[in-house]
Symmetry: C2
Subunit: 195 residues, 2 copies
């Protein structure tokens, strides 16, 4: 996705060999026009998949997910990272390890919003090790629903998440794929799925 | 806002005299069409205010805020509730007490996204005691920027937040205002600003 690539090139800040900081348009300040285009792009990618729900995880996934849900004409659900006070029962829970924060969180979704007839598109801002996406997929599968696809805004292809998810049988569509963050420079995976 | 009132009536669940659960369209599962209409409505309310940024707080404020920012053609920023690992310096911090969770959180915004020329619209999903809105307003004012208004999706008018914010000189526009949650029933404040 050219608009997103351009934004990564002009505003992304490389910190070490692992971290790409995109807090000017995706993670903290958000560009609503870019988010709308991201939503349209995901809708285009998955339009044949009869998606019934878009699922993401708080907080940075919410904006791309709501725009995708708007384009697909389906509800969006965001998983919470801590149990909410008003969500004590009838919840789907999975543990997710965060390499960034080096801690395990419980992510939760209310049972009443997913059932076995759902075809769920998982959307998230970043894909690195794949822990969050696997956790969301397990939540979908707990109720017997189908993970119809995983849409990622920025994939760090030098980390194992995308490979692991594909090996597990999931369709993963990433709007930009980053091959390396060496020497302060962003190198993209140069294939046609980016264009 | 009639669409939102109808949604509160048909899907809101009253828990005791204080809590309105709206997790089927606003707090957990989200209705993207409703969020888009909420964004349009806030844009209409504040169109004369020369807004330069929309500011909210994770997580439930993000969807209405991104839709509002899209309509106004300005960036959106969401305050984080915990300090991020990649945001150690140059941050604006305020303490916010949560009556629901009975704990004090630090909310943070990166300094680089706000300056003294900004006219900021604060957007949030709920207004009860006003702690979050006051915290966001103090963050805006730390850098000498102006709070041009506060847009609230659902105001619980029987709690003191709206009155306190107005007494402090802020413009507060709430899309629905709830007078009471007695006997399991939602009673709206019946004035023209709701229509």
């Amino acid at each position: 996705m050219k608009l997103l690539k351009d934004k990564v090139m002009s505003e992304g800040i490389v910190l070490g060999n692992q971290v790409l900081k995109v807090d000017s348009f995706l993670n903290h300040q958000m560009d609503p026009v870019l988010m709308k285009e991201v939503g349209k792009e995901f809708a285009r990618h998955f339009e044949g998949e009869q998606i019934t729900k878009v699922l993401t995880i708080e907080s940075s996934g919410i904006a791309p997910a709501i725009m995708t849900a708007l384009e697909l004409g389906v509800p969006m659900i965001f998983a919470r990272k801590n149990k909410s006070l008003t969500l004590k029962e009838n919840i789907l829970v999975e543990k997710v390890y965060s390499f960034t924060k080096q801690e395990t969180n419980e992510i939760t979704v209310s049972k009443k919003f997913l059932d076995e007839n759902d075809r769920v598109l998982i959307v998230d801002d970043f894909l690195a090790n794949g822990e969050a996406a696997f956790g969301l997929a397990r939540i979908v599968e707990q109720v017997g629903a189908k993970v119809a696809g995983i849409g990622i805004v920025i994939e760090k292809s030098f980390q194992p998440g995308a490979r692991r998810l594909k090996e597990a049988g999931y369709r993963v569509d990433s709007l930009v794929r980053i091959a390396a963050l060496e020497n302060g420079t962003v190198t993209f995976v140069d294939d046609q799925t980016n264009e």
